[in-house]
């Protein structure tokens, strides 16, 4: 590099600074106005140092540079935030490469926080676990939490501040904001639901600093009905917290309390803790579920009643009065009365306020308040009716009253009610700014777009479903120059010097925290005893008003998508490819109908099409709007109800999300956010391919040739008479357990095993994504799923039994069975799959040539083959996300569940160093760790005190296809349900 042409960063900055406004530069060469020197400049590895070296270097500087290079070589991926973090669980003296450290943090969804422990490998967060101390998690995680790690590294996240779509800087935004702030009366702030005390405090300060500024809240998946129902019953926006562990009888009025909503992980655990049928257990709780589209909760119920959305209020009313012409409702009312004070009636978030108020009234009458239900103040900073809040904003915008709209998170252009015509109103606002993770549909229409930090990148706080506060610790410095909510609000207040860390810390220090308690809060992941106290409100009597007449004609049920939520996770490949509970559809949304309705409306695609993963398109007509959707028939769906999920049909979200599915927000009006009537549907003569991973498997003998004993079940009454009744098989002879091969001897080793309790599995999918995250499992895309090549090591099988109108639904997670007599092992010609000394069927990826014989010969079909090069080796952003303990597989190689052998090995090495055996609970698989209901238990079956050993002695224990003499290490506990004998099925 010649001396005369040497340029440095200072020079560049100056040149960039000289440019004004829309003066573009097409390339960096052009910018430098000196292409040659620029090329040379950037070809140096350390341009700044290159300048120094060029001028001659002395020994001291040379040593400094060399030392720095060596140090930085190993630190390339380390971007730990500068502020002090407090590691959880294990605290090595130094960060040891290969030794993960766990930090407590919290993920906030829909405003509510769930505690997480984040596994960090040398500064890179790689895996999310639940925080066992956190009341909303108890160590469990759902699919959203697990998949958030992919969201963090998503290369499609917005990476730069944009002004009118052009690259700009944060300081440009601050400069542009200043004139706007001079007219506070015209400023509107639009946020999502906020429970964060520090952000709430900041917003209060903002409103004080800028009098006239109005704050609106909107979230597409909102809890307005819960709030309004509480106000109907209690007079204010109070918040019910349920204690399912204390309830003997639960009635769900359209509530998916185990599958979605604040605290659902905790609720699932508490509820299922009363259903663990073990030796000596003499009681079991009972769940009645009234719902439309089958949910995780409804399908786990002892009695599920498919009802139209419009019928719900009448049912609630009859339940409330106890007088019903319908015998089952009367029987439920009697059961509730018999369990007064130990029962719960819970209404779903989508049910109208009247149903909520009725549920509160019933609970009040039963004396459940104070025992099974605690009414607290709302954990939200300012609970509002979000629909009305948004309506006010839109009205103001249309009236030209809004001079500036600052949108903090959310995607209102995409997810606001169709009749609000948000876009038209929005474009009347002269100054629009938007903080978001992606450059999305809203970002496209704003003046200023600011990339938002992921929850693993910034400090924050939030409240759990019971009000417990968690501090959000960042695990990594913002990857893509994101800004936190508090920075944007801070910029408006003028507190630019405050980092998000300062905002959170100073808020809590002002509440009496000191360094010690702060450290403890960070370490624990929550602030002890910060749950909100009971509000002591009493419910009024049941509201007498309300239109309780069931509607006639077809009804539309509109729900958030179970895997991509309101659309915000649309660019998350793991969640896109996650088979949705019940339908097992991936990468799409559909029009869910019952078999009878499908036949009546002539839209049934028929088995032959469904077997080919194909459906028919139908046209839904609602208020003059038409929408084409593929039909999907779901047994158990109430007749006359069409269910659609919203969140799909993103146009501007990223490579994964764009153009996937159908935007059903176009059918969502403000007066019919959840249920609509007056819908017509007509079949189109067009087919549409749907990437479902399972068709409508039924256990009916006629369809499968006989009883295969896959799912075994009994009622609790039957179980009490004969605990083994569910698993008895007549067709297993005494010689069926003989093998040609000699048995393995495990007497001196661990023998790993797993028991899955199908009674308590809700099919929530948490384990599936946990497995995907832990084991670096690739996604394959819709086209490959259509070819039946999805890669999930753990799948959740869903079976129906009984009538198609209201079948019993069974969920069965199926990982590798790790058979003792594994059919896969002897057929591999190169011995790439072999039996380990601890009884696992190990898979040696680099020995595999890919004959696929093992997969063919696996009766459980749990093996997964890399038909193409599915793993993304090329995207740099995704590399740090992967679990460094697990090989990233290449094309042409078979893979399968390993019982998380990397965890097992780590625990064994750890135990060997201490010259002891691995303790029970010291190691568990990713699926078992994530499971909200602890349905999956992993451990050493050689250890007679281990939980898994004990469970295998249960009379309900059975092996899947055990008559094949595969001797599976993974076994199941039969499903035991507790139906009310008074109600005839």
């Amino acid at each position: 590099m010649s001396e005369s042409k040497t340029i440095d960063f200072k020079e560049f900055r100056k040149r960039v600074g000289d440019l004004r406004g829309r003066e573009y530069w097409r390339s960096l060469e052009e910018l430098s106005r000196d292409p040659e020197s620029f090329d040379e400049f950037f070809h140096e590895e350390f341009p700044q140092q290159a300048v120094a070296l060029d001028k001659g270097v002395d020994r001291r500087d040379f040593m400094k540079l060399m030392g720095a290079s060596v140090a930085m070589a190993g630190l390339a991926a380390c971007q730990q935030p500068a502020q002090s973090l407090v590691p959880y669980v294990r605290q090595p003296e130094n960060m040891i490469p290969g030794q993960p450290i766990f930090f407590a943090s919290a993920m906030i969804l829909g405003g509510y926080a769930s505690g997480v422990l984040v596994e960090s490998h040398t500064g890179r967060p790689t895996k999310i676990e639940g925080n066992p101390d956190h009341p909303s998690s108890l160590g469990a995680t759902n699919a959203f939490m697990q998949a958030s790690i992919l969201g963090l590294y998503d290369p499609d996240r917005s990476q730069v501040v944009r002004h009118m779509g052009d690259v700009a800087t944060w300081s440009d935004f601050i400069a542009a904001l200043q004139p706007v702030l001079k007219n506070p009366g015209g400023i509107r702030l639009l946020t999502q639901t906020i429970t964060s005390p520090s952000t709430g405090d900041q917003i209060q300060k903002l409103m004080a600093a800028l009098p006239g500024l109005k704050w609106h809240q909107w979230e597409a998946v909102n809890r307005d009905n819960v709030r309004e129902g509480a106000r109907l019953a209690f007079g204010s926006y109070v918040h019910p917290v349920y204690h399912f562990d204390k309830a003997n009888v639960v009635v769900s009025l359209g509530s998916d309390f185990m599958g979605s909503g604040p605290g659902h992980l905790r609720y699932a655990r508490d509820f299922m803790n009363r259903r663990r049928v073990r030796k000596g257990v003499t009681s079991m709780n009972r769940l009645y579920a009234f719902e439309s589209m089958p949910t995780s909760t409804g399908t786990s119920a002892d009695h599920r009643f498919p009802v139209k959305p419009s019928e719900m209020e009448a049912i609630a009313r009859e339940l409330s009065s106890g007088n019903s012409s319908r015998p089952h409702i009367a029987a439920i009312a009697r059961d509730l009365k018999a369990n007064a004070g130990a029962s719960i009636v819970i209404a779903g978030d989508e049910q109208p306020p009247a149903v909520h108020a009725l549920a509160h009234a019933i609970n009040q009458a039963l004396g459940n308040h104070g025992t099974t239900i605690t009414i607290t103040q709302s954990p939200e900073v300012t609970p509002v009716n979000q629909l009305e809040s948004l309506r006010e904003l839109v009205t103001d915008m249309n009236a030209g009253k809004v001079q500036a709209l600052i949108i903090i998170g959310g995607n209102p252009v995409f997810d606001t009610p169709a009749d609000f015509k948000f876009v038209d109103a929005f474009q009347k606002v002269p100054f629009r700014a938007h903080l978001s993770h992606y450059y999305d549909e809203t970002s496209e229409l704003v003046h200023w777009h600011i990339p938002e930090t992921h929850f693993l990148e910034a400090w924050g706080d939030g409240r759990a479903h019971d009000g417990t506060v968690s501090i959000q610790q960042p695990l990594i410095a913002p990857l893509y120059n994101g800004r936190h909510v508090s920075e944007v609000i801070g910029a408006m207040i003028g507190g630019l010097d405050q980092s998000p860390y300062d905002v959170v810390k100073s808020y809590w220090f002002s509440k009496g925290f000191n360094d010690l308690t702060w450290r403890k809060a960070l370490h624990d992941g929550l602030i002890a005893n910060s749950a909100l106290p009971a509000a002591g409100a009493a419910a009024a009597a049941a509201p007498a008003t309300g239109n309780s007449q069931p509607a006639t004609g077809l009804e539309l049920e509109i729900k958030p998508d179970p895997t991509i939520y309101d659309g915000r996770f649309a660019n998350n490949g793991w969640l896109q490819e996650l088979p949705k509970p019940q339908t097992k559809i991936t990468w799409d949304n559909a029009l869910i109908v019952s078999p009878k309705t499908a036949a009546e409306q002539h839209i049934d695609p028929g088995d032959d099409l469904v077997n080919e993963r194909t459906s028919r398109l139908a046209e839904v007509t609602y208020r003059g709007r038409k929408m084409r959707l593929p039909v999907w028939v779901v047994p158990g769906q109430p007749d006359g109800v069409l269910t659609i999920f919203f969140g799909y049909g993103r146009k501007r979200a990223g490579k994964i999300a764009d153009g996937v599915g159908f935007n059903t927000y176009e059918l969502r009006d403000s007066d019919a956010l959840h249920h609509a009537t007056g819908v017509q549907v007509s079949g189109l003569d067009e087919t549409y391919r749907i990437a479902c991973t399972q068709e409508h498997q039924s256990l009916n003998v006629a369809e499968t040739g006989g009883d295969r004993g896959i799912i075994r079940s009994a009622t609790f009454a039957e179980y009490q008479k004969d605990p083994g009744i569910a698993v008895k098989r007549e067709d297993v002879g005494e010689h069926d357990n003989e093998s040609m091969w000699p048995s393995y001897d495990y007497s001196k080793q661990n023998a790993w095993g797993m028991v899955i309790d199908t009674t308590v599995c809700t099919g929530c999918n948490g384990c599936v994504i946990a497995c995907q995250s832990e084991n670096n499992i690739s996604i394959v895309g819709k086209v490959e799923v259509l070819k039946e090549r999805e890669m999930h090591w753990l799948r959740i099988d869903r079976y129906y039994r009984g009538s198609v109108e209201n079948p019993e639904v069974y969920n069965q997670p199926v990982p590798c069975m790790q058979c003792e007599n594994a059919p896969c092992e002897p057929v591999c010609p190169v011995g790439a799959t072999s039996h380990s000394s601890e009884g696992l069927n190990d898979m040696t990826y680099n020995r595999c040539v890919g004959t696929r014989y093992c997969s063919n010969n696996c009766p459980y079909k749990v093996r997964r083959f890399n038909f193409f090069h599915y793993a993304d080796y090329d995207t740099p952003a995704l590399k740090p996300m992967r679990n460094p303990d697990v090989t990233v597989r290449t094309r042409g190689v078979m893979e399968k569940c390993t019982y998380c052998v990397q965890r097992v090995n780590e625990a064994r090495i750890h135990a060997e160093k201490e010259n002891r055996l691995v303790r029970d609970g010291e190691v568990t698989t990713a699926c078992a760790q994530a499971c909200p209901t602890e349905a999956i238990v992993f451990g050493n079956i050689n250890d007679p005190t281990s939980r898994v050993h004990q469970l295998k002695l249960e009379p309900t224990n059975y092996g899947l296809l055990e008559e094949l003499n595969t001797r599976p290490r993974t076994t199941y506990l039969a499903t035991v349900r507790n139906p009310n004998p008074e109600i005839k099925a």
Binding site: E612, R708, K787, G831, R852, F867, R891, L960
Partner: protein, 474 residues
């Protein structure tokens, strides 16, 4: 009986007063009127003539086009992955293994005709053995493509061979695929040797009759210095008999072991003890069908009616029917076992074949392999080249369908309904299939043009002169 057949008919006729009805006249294995010279002339001219018939160029060009398809498919397969095929997660084997078994089955006729019929002194085999052996080799070559290329990482295929290596790793000897490697490679080696040893005297004839210097050289090298001395003939006869003895068990073993790929598996529809005889019978059936498919047009095109007579065709038709009926019996037994075992999976397996989404395949299979061979009960059909060709085509298609019914139809619905799926071949599956036919035809056309398709010296032994000489020796 066989000996009697060989009595030249033209010698009987003039000495007999009675007018023998034509249907009682045995059909000869060699039409009358040939001498040593005419046999040699007729057959070697096909190879040595300067002017290649235009029809050959058309056929060879066509096979080259198919080879091109094969090349493109293999290129894409290796660079992109086996995902270009229709295989998926219940159905891990599709066209690849169907076609492998199909080709290997076809490759059975050659050895059977050459070795077993030689040992059984079925001398009618003489006119067709060379042709059938060549077909066997080419079929095995086409079959060999599939196991080599069906793996996810074909560049590591050599791991299937037991070779000493620094990793001290051996293949897994419990795996039927491992057995396949030995069975198929042994079969290919022995068949090639057998074919080549049988060619040596004829190569020498061609060497001697060739006028082109290059041809002389090449045939000369192939002839390994054959001079036709008594010692040569003595050695030759021994070697040929020994190789026939070696090949005989292979006829049974190869397809037995191929059937183990399935029978050893646990999948309903695979896991059955009758698979070895069922597969061997199927292979012979397929092999004879393919010999007929190729011999009937070749006979016509090269005017070989004198050498491949109606007797050959009729005998092959009989073998086809016999083995076809064994195959059909296996289908019946399979259905009976499914019912009689009381095993839910086995029952469903058969129900799914007969009533599931691939039922059309199953019914087509029954028509092709169960019903069509019964035409051969009738002499009228047995002696009609057109009808024989039709029946053979049924068998060719039927045997492909049989492998489809066994492989994807068993896999696509096995034990757990949750993992059930569907299987469809893609354009690349078809590309590979058609391409492998191209390879087969390519080799066959080269063979027809450059090597004697009928064994010259063996035909000569069937001439009355030879018979007479033979008789004197004893």
């Amino acid at each position: 009986m066989a000996q009697k057949d060989l009595t030249p008919v033209h010698e009987i006729r003039p000495t007999t007063e009675l007018k023998i009805p034509e249907r009682f006249i045995p059909v000869p294995t060699l039409e009358p009127g040939h001498s040593f010279a005419s046999v040699t002339d007729h057959i070697s001219t096909i190879v040595l003539r300067k002017k290649t018939p235009i029809g050959w160029f058309v056929g060879f060009g066509f096979s080259c086009i198919l080879m091109g398809i094969l090349g493109v498919t293999i290129f894409r397969l290796i660079f992109v992955g086996v995902g270009i095929w229709g295989i998926n997660h219940p159905v891990g084997w599709g066209f690849d293994i169907i076609n492998f078994v199909w080709w290997i089955g076809i490759g059975h006729a050659g050895t059977l005709i050459s070795a077993i019929l030689l040992l059984l002194r079925q001398e009618w085999r003489t006119s067709i053995n060379r042709f059938a052996e060549a077909m066997t080799l080419f079929a095995v070559a086409a079959a060999g493509l599939y196991p080599a290329l069906h793996t996810g990482r074909p560049w590591y295929d050599y791991w299937l061979f037991p070779y000493p290596n620094t990793m001290s790793l051996w293949p897994q000897f419990r795996s039927p695929l491992m057995w396949d490697v030995f069975a198929v490679s042994t079969y290919a080696t022995v068949s090639a040797l057998f074919w080549y040893v049988g060619l040596i005297p004829d190569l020498a004839t061609l060497r001697d009759r060739a006028t082109n210097h290059a041809a002389k050289m090449i045939y000369g090298m192939g002839a390994l210095g054959w001079r036709g001395s008594a010692k040569h003939w003595h050695r030759y006869e021994h070697a040929y008999l020994l190789l026939a003895g070696l090949s005989t068990p292979l006829v049974l073993s190869v397809h037995t072991i191929v059937s183990f790929d399935f029978a050893v598996g646990v999948i309903p529809g695979w896991h059955a003890t009758f698979f070895p005889p069922y597969f061997v019978a199927g292979a012979v059936f397929a092999g004879f069908a393919m010999v007929l498919t190729l011999a009937i047009p070749a006979r016509k095109f090269f005017h070989l009616e004198d050498f491949i007579t109606m007797k050959h065709l009729e005998n092959m038709g009989k073998v086809m029917m016999a083995t076809g009926l064994i195959v059909f019996y296996s289908y019946v037994i399979e259905a009976f076992f499914a019912y009689y075992s009381g095993n839910v999976y086995e029952r469903y397996m058969w129900l799914n074949r007969a009533t599931g989404p691939y039922r059309h395949m199953y019914y087509a299979l029954i028509v092709c392999n169960g019903l069509a061979p019964n035409l051969m009960w009738f002499k009228r059909f047995r002696t009609s080249p057109a009808m024989l060709l039709v029946t053979a085509m049924f068998a060719n298609v039927g045997m492909w369908l049989e492998r489809f019914v066994i492989i994807p139809t068993s896999l696509h619905r096995d034990f757990l309904p949750s993992s059930w799926g569907m299987y469809h071949g893609t354009i690349w599956d078809w590309g590979m299939y058609i391409g492998s036919m191209g390879l087969f035809l390519f080799l066959l056309f080269l063979f027809l043009r450059f090597l004697p398709m009928i064994s010259i010296f063996e035909i000569r032994t069937m001439l009355p002169e030879a018979q007479a000489a033979h008789g004197e020796e004893h």
